[in-house]
């Protein structure tokens, strides 16, 4: 053995999240080189998104990977203190987070566009929430995607709760208190304190959960297998009693159970947001009519709308990603894929049932649900939409983006062994697509497509739809195989790139 035992043990922890961390670093670096005019999204927004998501995913995955790989049992039976792996993982999370933060501060193109106008404060808060909150949720839910969603949701709820309290106290308390609380910097200070408290509480809770893991730990070690057996049992019962199409659809809905949980969370969060926003609008109107300064209220409205927009975007982005990845990768993770392939149902029929059901769920939960919630919000505000992205005119772009996310994650899921790996690969594919498209658009400006403003056919929709078709076809090929060899997905990646290039150039219209 050439390496020291200490190095081996620590390197194992780093190596377990290195691909995810690498994706976050790659995304942050790429966001700085992508030409802004070619991709309608500000590079700082992309960088911010990559940093926040990368922080949360890395911290949560350090813990959840032991469950998804079913290796937790080794950590618990090795001659080491129960808390030793916990602290080791926390230290690795902190180290990787520090590196990510340093990189973020170096590459962020526009610090002034960050929330709170302070990149250092933003980094500190994100890091704390990532290490503590994502870790806690990772230990409780034992799934990275769920942990990230819950960490974001708990942070959003804290923000809304704090806002409501501050708003109430600023209006109800008299004298200096009200004046002091009405000032943005005091509110920011209080908010930051609460974020730190949230992180501390989450960290302590995570320690307790890990320490008492044995109470639920056994279920976690074998949960994957148990669920697999239960799913097989359920499917067997359904196959025996119901028509095949019904059995296949029921099974698909079972695989997508996490998406239904996410939808329930989105509805709850959107409900709180809508109530808070309407209440705030009333207060602003009252302030404008009266003598109170409306600036602090308008500032809070901006923050609230940001959170509200985040809820809708989260639902619109995460749902198709999760639907596509879960539909294919979860089956392999549970060990049911081989069993499914042996059923007396043709691969094509099985694939159609799967894609049809999952796409329907994705559209309902990822498009119709947020659209309905946005429509309710707009109706209550006299038909005024919160953002142009939620307006009906953006439908072609939104639909293309939705099916692109769905089909790419389904394709990645069709050759991945678990959901988080599929989502990670989808991110890589998406970033590659954005960069490739941006570079092509840099060479041939999008004016070739259409000079009509808001025309539904843009370079993005043309290449996006080409990707959707090719990715879904590749999914069908992979779905028939028990194990997809690397040469298959490498070839498919090359075909996807070719499809984007061909679609981009053949779709050009010379004006």
């Amino acid at each position: 053995m050439n390496q020291s035992p200490t190095f081996i043990v620590w390197w194992k922890e780093v190596r377990s999240v290195l691909p995810l961390w690498g994706v976050a670093v790659f995304a942050m670096l790429v966001s700085t080189v992508a030409p802004e005019r070619a991709i309608d999204i500000s590079p700082s927004t992309l960088c911010l998104f990559a940093f926040t998501l990368g922080s949360l995913v890395t911290s949560a995955h350090l813990f959840t990977r032991e469950c998804s790989d079913r290796t937790l049992i080794w950590q618990l039976t090795m001659p080491q203190a129960r808390m030793a792996p916990f602290w080791r993982k926390c230290c690795v999370a902190a180290g990787l987070q520090l590196l990510l933060t340093a990189l973020f501060l170096m590459v962020i193109p526009r610090p002034q566009s960050l929330p709170a106008n302070d990149p250092y404060l933003f980094c500190a808060i994100t890091s704390l929430v990532a290490i503590a909150s994502a870790t806690l949720w990772g230990l409780v839910l034992r799934q990275t995607a769920g942990a990230v969603v819950m960490a974001l949701t708990s942070a959003a709820f804290l923000m809304l709760g704090t806002y409501s309290f501050l708003e109430w106290s600023a209006n109800e308390l008299g004298g200096q208190w009200a004046q002091a609380l009405g000032k943005p910097h005091v509110q920011m200070w209080l908010m930051s304190c609460l974020w730190v408290l949230l992180a501390l509480a989450s960290g302590i809770a995570a320690m307790i959960v890990w320490h008492r893991l044995q109470l639920k730990g056994d279920a976690a070690v074998i949960s994957g297998i148990e669920i697999g057996v239960m799913a097989q049992f359920f499917s067997a019962r359904t196959f025996a009693r119901r028509p095949v199409w019904f059995a296949l659809i029921t099974k698909e809905l079972g695989l997508l159970r996490h998406c239904f949980w996410l939808a329930a969370l989105v509805v709850a969060a959107a409900g709180v947001f809508i109530i808070a926003d309407l209440w705030l609008e009333q207060r602003i109107s009252a302030a404008i009519r009266g003598t109170t300064h409306p600036e602090p209220l308008l500032w809070w409205q901006g923050v609230l709308r940001g959170v509200g927009m985040g809820i809708f975007v989260l639902a619109m982005v995460i749902t198709p990603l999760m639907c596509g990845a879960l539909a294919f990768a979860e089956e392999r993770h549970l060990g049911n894929h081989a069993w499914q392939l042996c059923q007396p149902v043709s691969a094509l029929r099985r694939w159609f049932n799967k894609i049809g059901t999952v796409a329907a769920v994705s559209v309902i939960l990822g498009l119709l649900l947020p659209a309905t919630l946005a429509w309710i919000h707009a109706s209550l505000r006299n038909g005024e939409p919160m953002d142009s992205a939620l307006a009906p005119g953006a439908l072609p772009q939104v639909l293309t983006a939705h099916f692109l996310l769905f089909s790419l994650s389904a394709w990645a899921g069709s050759w991945s062994q678990n959901t988080i790996s599929a989502i990670m690969k989808t991110f890589v594919a998406l970033i590659a697509y954005v960069v490739l498209h941006a570079q092509m658009a840099g060479l041939h400006t999008p004016r070739y497509y259409s000079t009509i403003a808001d025309h539904p056919v843009t370079a993005w929709t043309v290449t996006g739809l080409a990707l959707v078709v090719v990715a879904l076809f590749a999914t069908l090929i992979n779905h028939r195989m028990l194990l997809v060899p690397p040469r298959n997905w490498l070839t498919q990646s090359a075909v996807l790139v070719s499809a984007v290039v061909i679609a981009f150039y053949t779709g050009m219209v010379d004006n």
């Binding site: 081996i8 043990v9 618990l76 090795m78 001659p79 008492r212």
Partner: protein, 296 residues
């Protein structure tokens, strides 16, 4: 080291999953240097018992001691003297066989590299191969290596031979576990839970048969073989209708009667001899037959 002290001592162990009682008031004592079998049907509570021993599950009631220590309070001290092979084996998917062995060795003060090389050769495992490319049986072999190479005082094996082919299974049981115990005779203890009782026949010194979370039978293997006997009698004519006190079961096939007794075999034999049979033979029951008879 106190050699008289039992390696494992369980008293009144109870564990529940929700409302379902997995283990109910189990008592178990495993002396040093013995190979102890834990037998039972699926869901009998064998794995739960092992996980309570390893402090992976917290018992609702009862006490557990390993080497006289409480595995909950002296976790590291206990686990540094034992090794465990779970029923479902999984490894870190990015590691090779060599990386995996090095990783497990990193936790141990002692690791026998010579034995590791021997076992790699015997199991024909390529050290450079990724663990994802290993078959189910090969993963089990690797798990067994990670348990045996640190040469622990106690080896806890939960269905260790599932997934192994018959040749490797026999080799593993006879050579690997046998050699492990012979490496330090009288000091190395094995607690094994298995369905393949016949395969472990020659190794098991003592055993407990569990059913629905309770102990049904606890015995020394030699005593059990003496006590449980199969008596085969062939009569000249038809088999007469008999009332045999002490017989657990009897089966008639043509002119032949097969009786299984649990103790008191001599009384039954004398009674059968008095009927003037054409042929009478007795043989000890194998452990698997004792298991089947006990649970039927």
């Amino acid at each position: 080291m106190n050699t008289d002290q039992p390696v494992i001592e369980i008293q009144g162990l109870t564990h529940r999953y929700g409302r379902a009682e997995a283990v109910q008031g189990l008592n178990l004592t495993v002396p040093r240097g013995r190979c102890y079998g834990l037998f039972g049907r699926n869901g009998a509570g064998k794995t739960t018992t092992m996980k309570c021993l390893l402090n992976l599950l917290r018992p609702r009631a009862g006490t557990v001691r390993i080497f006289g220590l409480d595995p909950r309070r002296q976790e590291v001290a206990v686990k540094s003297r034992l090794a465990y092979v779970p029923d479902t084996v999984a490894f870190y998917p990015w590691m090779s066989v060599r990386d995996t062995l090095n990783y497990f060795a990193a936790f141990r003060k002692h690791w026998n590299r010579e034995l590791e090389a021997q076992l790699l050769e015997r199991f024909r495992l390529d050290p450079g191969k990724n663990v994802n490319a290993l078959s189910k049986g090969q993963k089990t072999q690797l798990a067994l290596m990670t348990a045996i190479c640190p040469e622990p005082e106690l080896l806890i094996l939960d269905e260790p031979t599932s997934g192994l082919d018959p040749i490797v299974r026999r080799e593993f049981i006879e050579t690997v576990i046998g050699a492990y115990q012979e490496g330090d005779p009288g000091n190395r203890t094995v607690l094994v839970s298995t369905h393949l009782i016949t395969e472990f026949e020659g190794l098991i010194d003592e055993f407990t048969i569990m059913d629905a979370g309770r102990e049904v039978v606890r015995m020394n293997a030699d005593e059990a073989r003496e006590k449980y006997q199969k008596i085969r009698v062939r009569f000249v004519g038809e088999v007469p209708k008999l009332e045999l006190p002490g017989a657990i079961s009897s089966r008639t096939r043509g002119r032949e009667l097969e009786v299984i007794v649990n103790g008191g075999g001599s009384v039954v034999i004398d009674h059968l001899r008095s009927l003037g049979p054409e042929e009478l033979a007795t043989e000890s029951l194998r452990l698997e037959e004792i298991f089947t008879v006990t649970l039927q």
